[in-house]
């Protein structure tokens, strides 16, 4: 890279890509050529910068200028003004929402200040389709080091000492997993990378694979060296075409450099990696289901033990690690276990990548040291709740996780604390909810997902999640009864206790954690038929405003159920027992006299002979 004076990094992750970042790249590239700057300025496509809220992103090196929401038409101005004249294009700079000032470089952006990018270290820095750029950033140095200087035993000890735990959700110590697999005997063993990222809204693994595929390939080879495997498999969902393409390119480049294949670094260690495509079943993120899917069987889990480390792919000892877990390995080898262990909390070391989403200003991908608080993430990195609304909860851990509230804002983020607070680390989904979100509906959303994604093997998950969903649905439709709360609790508890795999055992978490933290909302839905957020349409009530109503009778004529009662020139009243909430009256009324209210209009009661008593 050294002979260029300036680099223009264009984000080519899936998010920016879908906002025409490839065109931005083409235009910048053409413009550089047209101006004869090709020898001094390099335009490259990189992986995700994380700040997806403001994509497409163009970053300029060496001054770290961070352009946001760049359109193809902006290319000429960037080249003319910034590159040639040295004047930053102000209108494209990130506008700090608090100070309302343009931020000159990324180092001063709140979004990045508290982040620590370890797994994402190369995302947004290198061209993922060019192995030379990865190598310039030390790719395969760790592999070289372990093969030439360390024994498998020493390497496993190093990973154990680092305290790295599985980033897929459960947090099993990675070094220990490697150790167990290394000790199990088999004529063949396998390294499997779990890239079946499936939580709604999560894209941590995809971003790593798109932005820095070599870190994962290198780590898999290191793992293979440690456990005695010569074959690695990446189980990736077919819905990640860009990641698949970059992985394919990366594998073939690494092979042509001799960094994968036979006798790596002249040693007798050989390692090859193949891709296996998943059909996008959430349950295939569960390692036994994943393995069955790779074997060509129905993607459904089996009982553990035996764990894959003992009997995995094709019955051989298999080490299954998540993408983000692997991405941490090379740095740990190069910088040392102690360096890694110095980051984070006592039991949760290193960093964690989260996909920040929902009602938050800075939607995107972030990487933070373990132990950071939710408050720091939401208010400092995330820039606070959108439109100045009131924070209500944050959902972590995806469909397996739960909701954390105001009182948890200062909880440090680590595996144990999140679990104790009724949620879990999960793979890193983090969805911020505000006062407009109905917690019953949030739980219903996740259960809807689980009903779709349950494999159907065990009864508690197959039928239990359906019944949970139906009960939540009844409640949001205003048909809930007091017993429904008990049904939710008991079903949730029994599913946790009896479901076969992690999917089913954690499926009730969104319900149980919202029941714990927002019971009053549930009770309002059930007892008062009220949804305080106004999200449940069936719990909104059409009401005629007495002072606005002229008694024109227009609404009574269009009401299909004759729910509107009243005499000409006198204010009308809607009988809530008969109203079907079709909205015809509101549409017809020329005086804006009909409004939607969250509270059941109790003051208006009907007597039996259909006369009103107010």
């Amino acid at each position: 890279m050294s002979h260029y004076k300036m680099h223009l990094l264009v984000c080519a992750g899936t998010g920016c890509h879908s906002s025409e970042s490839d065109l931005v790249y083409e235009m910048l590239h053409d413009e550089v050529e047209r101006k004869g700057l090709s020898n001094d300025v390099q335009v490259i496509r990189t992986g995700c910068f994380g700040f997806c809220e403001k994509g497409p992103i163009v970053k300029v090196l060496p001054d770290n200028t961070f352009y946001t929401e760049v359109k193809p038409g902006d290319a000429q101005e960037i080249i003319d003004e910034h590159v040639i004249k040295g004047r930053k294009v102000e209108r494209l700079l990130y506008l700090d929402p608090e100070t309302n000032e343009h931020v000159l470089d990324s180092k001063h952006m709140g979004f990045y200040k508290k982040q620590l990018r370890v797994a994402l270290r190369n995302c947004g820095t290198i061209d993922p389709e060019n192995i030379d750029e990865s190598i310039a950033r030390d790719a395969y140095m760790a592999l070289g080091k372990v093969i030439t200087e360390m024994t498998p035993r020493e390497t496993i000890e190093l990973i154990k000492r680092s305290g790295l735990r599985g980033r897929g959700g459960a947090g099993f110590p990675t070094g220990l997993k490697w150790e167990i697999t290394s000790k199990n005997h088999g004529d063949r063993k396998y390294v499997v990378c779990n890239a079946d990222e499936g939580d709604p809204g999560a894209f941590m693994d995809r971003s790593i694979l798109e932005g820095d595929p070599h870190s994962v390939l290198e780590a898999m080879a290191i793992c293979g060296y440690c456990i005695g495997a010569s074959e690695g498999l990446i189980y990736i969902r077919a819905e990640y075409p860009l990641a698949i393409r970059r992985l394919r390119i990366a594998i073939s480049q690494a092979q042509s450099y001799g960094l994968l294949g036979e006798n790596i670094f002249g040693s007798d260690f050989s390692f090859n990696i193949k891709l296996r495509y998943g059909a996008g079943a959430f349950v295939c993120g569960e390692e036994t289901a994943l393995i069955h899917s790779m074997e060509g069987l129905r993607g459904e889990p089996t009982n553990k033990p035996p764990f894959p480390a003992e009997r995995g792919y094709l019955g051989k000892p298999t080490c299954v690690n998540n993408v983000e877990t692997f991405a941490n390995i090379p740095v740990i080898v190069l910088k040392g276990a102690e360096w890694f262990a110095s980051i984070g909390t006592e039991k949760s070391k290193g960093t964690k990548v989260f996909a920040l989403a929902g009602k938050i200003n800075n939607v995107g991908l972030i990487e933070v040291p373990m132990g950071i608080t939710l408050r720091e993430i939401i208010y400092e990195i995330g820039g606070g709740v959108k439109e100045g609304k009131k924070f209500k909860a944050v959902q972590t851990g995806g469909p397996s996780g739960g909701c954390l509230t105001e009182k948890h804002l200062d909880t440090p983020i680590d595996y144990e604390s999140l679990m104790a607070a009724g949620s879990m680390m999960g793979s890193g989904g983090m969805i911020v909810l505000d006062e407009d979100d109905c917690m019953v509906s949030v739980a219903k959303f996740y259960l809807d997902f689980i009903v779709e994604e349950s494999c159907g093997k065990c009864a508690p998950c197959r039928i239990g999640s359906k019944r949970l969903y139906e009960t939540l649905d009844r409640i949001t439709l205003g048909k809930g009864e007091q017993e429904d709360i008990e049904i939710l609790k008991n079903l949730g508890m029994v599913m946790k206790d009896t479901a076969l795999c992690g999917l089913g055992q954690t499926a009730p978490n969104p319900v149980l954690s919202t029941l714990d933290n927002f019971k009053e909302e549930y009770l309002e839905h059930v007892n008062e038929k009220k949804c305080r957020s106004g999200q449940c349409r069936d719990l909104l009530y059409y009401v005629i405003l007495e002072e606005e109503c002229t008694g024109c009778m227009a609404c009574t004529r269009v009401c299909p159920t004759h729910a509107i009662i009243g005499e000409r020139r006198n204010p009308h009243v809607i009988n809530q027992e008969v109203c079907i909430k079709c909205g015809a009256c509101m549409e017809k009324c020329q005086f804006d006299a009909i409004s939607l209210q969250k509270d059941y209009p109790r003051e208006v009661q009907l007597t039996t002979n259909n006369e009103l008593t107010v």
Binding site: R298, S454, C455, G456, K457, R462, G464, D497, T498
Partner: protein, 590 residues
């Protein structure tokens, strides 16, 4: 050995024992639903899917499924704590909530494991009400799939794939809509199903049941213009009593005959008669082929395969269309009986073919399909009109309020009721080939067989082999029961590596005593052994134990057929086979 505590009882078990079995050793029966095993047959289904058998293990986060959790040294287990009882009841209620509430009119009522559990758990209310998964009903000639009642225990999938290697059934769809079905949810009839019916015999609910033909038989019996003839297969008499509370292995031949007579059948005959006839034809064919082989005839195909079992016939028609000339061309005893009844016997009693109804009582569901095959019809009139299972006969007897236990012992009618000991052992795996050996030995050597019992051909191992000395000619005999075992022997034949001269195959594990039409064994493999022992005992009791000595058979050849293998015998008693392997493809393209 390890030691653990279950419900305060100390138990010592082998390492590797599941909690379920450890509890059993301690005399504690943990309820199960999806779990199914026939231990000595090596058949086991434990997907860990129903979660009914969960128990509480001290120190464990969640409840443990006892059928698949290994007992560990020092474990302290509670099998009926409040937590366990609530979990089991909740899970059972969930399963019931996705199950039709039509117990009163369900074919499985009274034999349903789900119903039994509901009774055992005292289910009196159902708080979990919601949508039920609904599927298309699928009716085939032998089996009815009403998978609204499927509880995803996967027993049928296990037996169809692991035991039978047929591969007609597997779980399809996901989540709430997952169910066991043929690929693409095609009809069973379009799938490679062999109608062996083993799926029916392990289904805990009414999702898989036999196609019931009782009503057609009641109609025939009440029609005065019809002469209704019934034949009963060997294995039926060793199992029917179980349906009336008699211990497994009770031989109820006499009571069965009386019951059939009371039900109104005009002639009560025995499939054992045509089993003897089968031996005459098949044994002759075996000897012809062996002689031809010894004489160096290159057109002779060896080994010869038995062809009595219609599930097995379907299996090789589907899977070995290239080997259709290998099996014996002899029809099954059921079909030989029909052919003789509607020709020889009908003529004898002066009844027109179309006025005779032949009913068979079989331990089998594939027989229902077999009797409907076109090649077993004359002018559209089938040789055997209806085939009912042992279970259907029991139900018919109960419907007619016949007190089975008090019935006197009746005798089969002549002439199609006379049989030998060789015929009755057709119901056991190895029985057909033993019967064939008894006759073939004497026909080949011209000497009297001193040792009638061929113990070397008996047993329950899935694949067995023995060499029988035919006075210097050593015949290699192979035996397989269960279609996966049959597949192994057939693959050897296809590869030209088979060392056998003759192979007996029965589709069902245990042979016909384990047929899919027999009373449900509920995972008690001892039942099959007892039925088999009853048939061997019946053989011992018979005055004549070799098929070619059956006087009625001798007479049949003298009066009607001429020689075994004669032109008429070929017309009436032999058949041909058809390749079925392409059918699936054709239907999918359509």
């Amino acid at each position: 050995m390890i030691e653990l505590t279950i419900d305060k009882k100390k138990v010592r078990v082998e390492k590797g024992t599941t909690i379920l079995k450890a509890a059993r050793q301690a005399g504690i029966e943990i309820p199960t639903l999806c779990h199914y095993e026939l231990c000595d047959m090596g058949i086991e289904n434990k997907p860990g899917g129903c979660r009914i058998c969960v128990v509480e293990v001290e120190g464990r986060r969640n409840l443990a499924p006892s059928c698949i959790t290994e007992a560990q040294d020092g474990m302290v287990i509670h099998t009926h704590s409040i937590r366990v009882l609530n979990a089991r009841k909740t899970v059972l209620r969930l399963i019931i909530s996705d199950h039709p509430f039509d117990c009163l009119v369900c074919a499985k009522s009274g034999h349903c494991d789900l119903q039994d559990l509901a009774v055992q758990f005292g289910i009196r209310s159902q708080p979990y009400v919601g949508e039920q998964s609904r599927y298309r009903k699928d009716t085939s000639p032998s089996i009815i799939r009403d998978v609204d009642k499927c509880i995803m225990c996967r027993r049928c999938e296990m037996i169809c794939n692991e035991v039978q290697s047929v591969g007609a059934l597997a779980a399809v769809n996901r989540g709430f809509m997952s169910v066991v079905a043929p690929a693409f949810e095609m009809n069973l009839e379009d799938s490679p199903c062999t109608y062996c019916g083993q799926c029916v015999s392990v289904c805990p609910t009414g999702a898989l049941t036999e196609k019931d033909h009782t009503i057609e038989i009641i109609r025939a019996l009440s029609n005065p213009s019809k002469t209704v003839v019934v034949q009963t297969a060997p294995a039926v008499r060793a199992a029917l009593g179980e349906e009336f509370g008699m211990p497994a292995g009770t031989l109820v031949t006499g009571k069965m005959v009386s019951a059939l007579r009371e039900l109104g059948f005009d002639y009560v005959f025995d499939t054992d008669f045509s089993a003897d006839l089968t031996i005459m034809e098949e044994g002759t064919e075996l000897l012809q082929r062996v002689r031809g082989y010894l004489e160096g005839d290159s057109n002779v195909r060896l080994p010869i395969l038995t062809s009595c079992c219609p599930g097995w016939v379907n299996f090789f028609e589907h899977n070995y269309p290239d080997l259709l000339d290998v099996p014996s061309t002899a029809k099954s005893p059921q079909q030989m009986f029909g052919a003789i009844a509607k020709s020889y016997f009908a003529e004898k009693i002066g009844v027109k073919r179309n006025d005779m109804i032949v009913v068979s009582v079989m331990p089998c569901l594939a027989k229902k399909y077999e009797c409907q095959r076109d090649e077993f019809k004359v002018g559209g009139n089938p040789d055997v009109d209806y085939s009912i299972s042992t279970r259907e006969l029991a139900s018919f007897i109960k419907q007619a309020n016949i007190d089975f236990l008090e019935l006197p012992d009746g005798e089969f009618d002549d002439p199609l009721g006379e049989s030998t000991g060789a015929a009755v052992i057709f119901g056991n795996t190895g029985g057909v080939i033993e019967a064939a050996c008894r006759t073939a030995y004497e026909l080949y050597t011209g000497k009297k067989l001193e040792k009638v019992d061929f113990h070397e051909l008996r047993g329950m191992d899935g694949i067995r082999s023995a060499t029988i000395d035919f006075n210097g000619l050593e015949l290699n005999i192979g035996i397989a029961h269960g279609l996966r075992n049959a597949r192994k022997l057939l693959d050897e034949v296809r590869e030209g590596k088979s060392k056998f001269h003759a192979i007996e195959v029965m589709a069902c594990p245990g042979g016909c005593v384990g047929g899919a039409g027999q009373p449900f064994n509920h995972g008690d493999s001892g039942v099959l052994g007892k039925r088999a022992a009853a048939l061997y005992a019946a053989d011992q009791e018979m005055p004549i134990r070799k098929s070619h000595e059956n006087p009625s058979i001798i007479k049949l050849y003298e009066e009607f057929l001429g020689e075994p293998g004669s032109e008429l015998a070929h017309k009436l008693l032999h058949t041909e086979y058809f390749a079925k392997s392409n059918e699936v493809t054709i239907h999918l393209q359509g």
